[in-house]
């Protein structure tokens, strides 16, 4: 196994493929089949970042793998009325983050991470968010939900009552009820809007229905991108900020277990984004505002600010790709893998079936 993998690697000296890391090495037979099947494509398995270098999550202060299942429930206490009051403290701060290996970006963040914390509440609760602006620029928190004008995080509205635009060093407390249930988002609404949003000021905002949803392995995927050279088009695309992160570190899921993905599109500069999963179909709940799915599909499109819930089970073990079905985005970073079941049971065939039968560049890396 090791010998075969090294041999394949030796013939592909500068390959960076999309084989998820730590997968079993490819069998010699699999690699050879790939070679013969794609004459002229030797040395190029697929789009990916240059090898030998990865994003420093520690320096970033967040790791997309952890971010995936990190839900911020805040602090709760019961009010005299019997209602639950849920409270958070959110700090806007400027911070340099690495969005692709070796590529630094001056991000504007909520609580030092991009996307901001996934705020999660239950339908009908009273929510209170103390927002402190430690950034050099004015910001707000504009929630998608139902609330009064003063609580809308909209510059020009409510400044005389301490609201509206929150300047550097200032703070404001947003207060509103958790409604309607579904998957929503929040973002800064200070002009220039595209700039404030694309810099990283956004996050998912989940309101669970009163009766809850069926037990599931839940995760949040915020589809975003980065215009690193400020030319009004993105250089790096991703889910949860770091391009190709879930290719290098596939998302571990269990076979036959219900998987629930809260999918939010905050991408700027491109009008549409999409989500596609390989070798499987999912039930889709647009905006999550209904408990009945609207479609059984393997691809959905979301415009800017659109979101929804995808639910699926993987019936087979193996590595299954998910990516934007806008190929350009996929090959500029918005790709990942689900790793279903016990990784040691993966075979070359299963790995290859995940995307196409090319010899994955990871073959030479590790057996």
């Amino acid at each position: 196994m090791l010998g075969g993998a090294l041999a394949a690697g030796a013939s592909l000296p500068i390959v960076q493929g999309l084989l998820p890391r730590e997968s079993g090495g490819l069998g010699t037979a699999g690699a050879k089949a790939g070679h013969s099947g794609h004459a002229g494509h030797e040395g190029f398995a697929h789009a990916g970042f240059a090898p030998g270098r990865s994003v420093n999550h520690r320096a970033n202060g967040f790791d997309p793998t952890n971010l995936l299942r990190d839900f911020d429930y805040g602090k709760t206490r019961r009010l005299a009325s019997g209602r639950v009051l849920r409270e958070w403290e959110i700090v806007a701060q400027d911070r340099e983050i690495e969005v692709a290996p070796g590529v630094k970006y001056e991000a504007w963040t909520y609580n030092g991470r991009v996307p901001g914390p996934t705020l999660r509440a239950r339908e009908g609760e009273k929510l209170r968010l103390r927002f402190l602006n430690a950034s050099d620029h004015p910001h707000t928190m504009h929630f998608h939900g139902i609330h009064t004008a003063l609580m809308d995080g909209m510059p020009g509205i409510g400044e005389n009552r301490g609201g509206g635009q929150v300047g550097p060093g200032e703070e404001f407390t947003y207060e509103f009820d958790a409604e309607p249930f579904g998957v929503h988002l929040y973002h800064c609404h200070v002009s220039p809007l595209a700039s404030h949003i694309s810099r990283g000021l956004y996050g998912a905002f989940i309101i669970d229905p009163k009766k809850g949803r069926p037990e599931a392995d839940e995760m949040v995927m915020v589809m975003n991108g980065f215009d690193t050279n400020f030319d009004l088009s993105n250089e790096v695309y991703a889910v949860n900020t770091v391009g190709f992160h879930y290719v290098n570190e596939p998302i571990q899921v269990s076979r036959d277990e219900l998987l629930r993905i809260y999918l939010v599109n905050v991408l700027e500069y491109d009008p549409l984004n999409s989500f596609h999963v390989h070798a499987n179909f999912f039930q889709y709940y647009p905006t999550g505002t209904s408990l009945e799915p609207s479609e059984y599909t393997d691809t959905v499109i979301q415009g800017q600010g659109q979101r929804g819930i995808a639910e699926m089970k993987f019936p087979f073990d193996g590595d299954y790709m998910f990516h934007a079905h806008v190929s350009e985005f996929a090959e500029l970073g918005w790709s990942g893998f689900f790793r279903v079941g016990n990784p040691s049971r993966l075979t070359a065939a299963a790995a290859s079936a995940a995307y196409c039968d090319l010899p994955w560049g990871g073959a030479g890396r590790k057996a």
Binding site: V15, G40, G43, F44, A100, V103, K104, E235
Partner: protein, 407 residues
């Protein structure tokens, strides 16, 4: 101030001249040293983030690989972090590391299954998030620089340089028979031809310089090359003229001498032309159709005529000029095209190309200055109806044949 200067001058008079010359130099050196040691006192930090300036000097395509040679033209180091070809990130290796200091260069070898005939847009993402763009208008494999390739380039140089120039020189017997009154017109014809050639070469050089790193001079290289070539040829001319005057020479020798000057000028020009052809061929921008080669041949035939025009005076069909001399003249004017094609195809560098084009321009201008007096008529006028007609004919012929080779 005046008094101080006077006081300085008095003791200065006793110092040796070389020391007086060295003192300002030493002071400048000390000032620079102190400035550097103190880290530029009073200047403070730079304002704003560094501006990255990177030039793509050379693009090479091999099966499954795209190679880009990048030069850092800006004041700060640049680190190349990622590369995307047609909006897809690709893996790459860097020959001299991914971080490049001022004026440094590195070659990125990108793994990509490019397809013949397609166009590619590449962006290189730097560590600061900036991008360097490179484009490949039509992808085609870059020829390997092996022996057969150099052979092909030599053949190309012979086709477009040596053969047409030599053919053009076959007008010598015709030139010999032409009435004496027409000699001014013939020289004028050559001057017109060369003038347009100089303009053309200057524009092409400036065009290439636009893609060259500004730190190496850019467009200034064309003018520098022209100035250097002009001055060198003028110097050589003055030296040879004195030797000739001492030895005494016939009219035929004078004509041969003038022909040699024209040949040198045209040869330096053909060096640049060969360079352009070779690099275009190597990057696939130029398809070597028979039409193009024929076009260049016809175009350069006129240059042969320019060489033999001064050889009119003398006896015999060749004006007393030995065939050996003619062959040497042809080689001087035509063979540099071979050398140019080699350089252009194997080691094209926009800065070098701009400089060489400038050299060609300077050489031609020098030749024009040299032979223009021969346009004079009996009244001593340079511009007279016949010479003007000759000038216009030369410009027209070069323009028309140039249409055949506009690449």
């Amino acid at each position: 101030m005046e008094a101080a200067a006077q006081a300085e001058r008095a003791p200065g008079g006793r110092l040796p001249a070389w020391l007086l010359g060295l003192i300002p130099l030493a002071l400048i050196g000390a000032a620079i040293g102190a400035f550097a040691l103190l880290g530029g006192p009073g200047l403070g930090e730079r304002t704003g983030p560094p501006v990255e300036e990177v030039v793509v000097e050379r693009t090479t395509l091999r099966p499954g690989e795209i190679e880009l040679t990048l030069r850092n033209d800006g004041p700060d180091p640049v680190e190349f972090a990622q590369v995307a070809v047609n909006d897809a990130y690709a893996s790459f290796t860097a020959s001299d590391g991914t971080e490049v200091g001022r004026l440094g260069s590195t070659t990125l070898t990108i793994a990509y299954p490019w397809i013949e005939g397609e166009a590619y847009e590449i962006f290189i993402l730097t560590s600061s998030g900036g991008t360097v763009d490179a484009s490949i208008p039509v992808a085609t494999e870059t020829p390997e620089a092996d022996l057969s390739f150099y052979g092909l380039m030599a053949l190309l140089g012979i086709y477009v340089g040596v053969i047409p120039v030599s053919l053009g020189m076959l007008w010598l017997p015709f030139v010999r028979r032409v009435d004496a009154r027409w000699i001014g017109a013939l020289i004028a014809f050559t001057v017109g031809l060369l003038a347009l050639l100089a303009i053309d070469a200057a524009l092409e050089g400036l065009d290439i310089a636009a893609a060259a790193p500004g730190a190496f001079g850019g467009a200034a290289l064309v003018f520098a090359g022209a100035l250097v070539a002009y001055l060198l040829l003028a110097g050589v001319d003055a030296y040879l003229a004195r030797r000739r005057a001492n030895a005494g020479g016939s009219a035929a020798q004078g004509g041969l001498y003038m022909a040699l000057l024209v040949a040198i000028g045209i040869g330096l020009h053909n060096l640049g032309e060969g360079l352009a052809i070779g690099s275009s061929y190597a990057t696939g921008a130029l398809a070597l159709g028979a039409f193009l080669v024929v076009g260049f041949a016809i175009h350069n035939t006129t240059e042969g005529l320019a060489i033999v025009a001064p050889l009119r005076d003398g006896v015999g069909p060749t004006g007393g000029t030995r065939f050996g001399h003619l062959a040497v003249l042809g080689l001087i004017a035509g063979a540099p095209a071979i050398l140019g094609a080699w350089i252009g195809a194997a080691a094209f560098n926009p800065s070098l190309a701009a400089l060489l084009f400038g050299v060609g321009v300077g050489a031609i201008v020098r030749v024009i200055v040299q032979i223009a007096p021969a346009m004079r008529n009996d009244e001593g006028r340079i511009l007279h109806p016949l010479s003007v007609a000759g000038l216009l004919a030369g410009i027209a012929l070069l323009y028309v044949t140039g249409l055949l080779v506009s690449v």
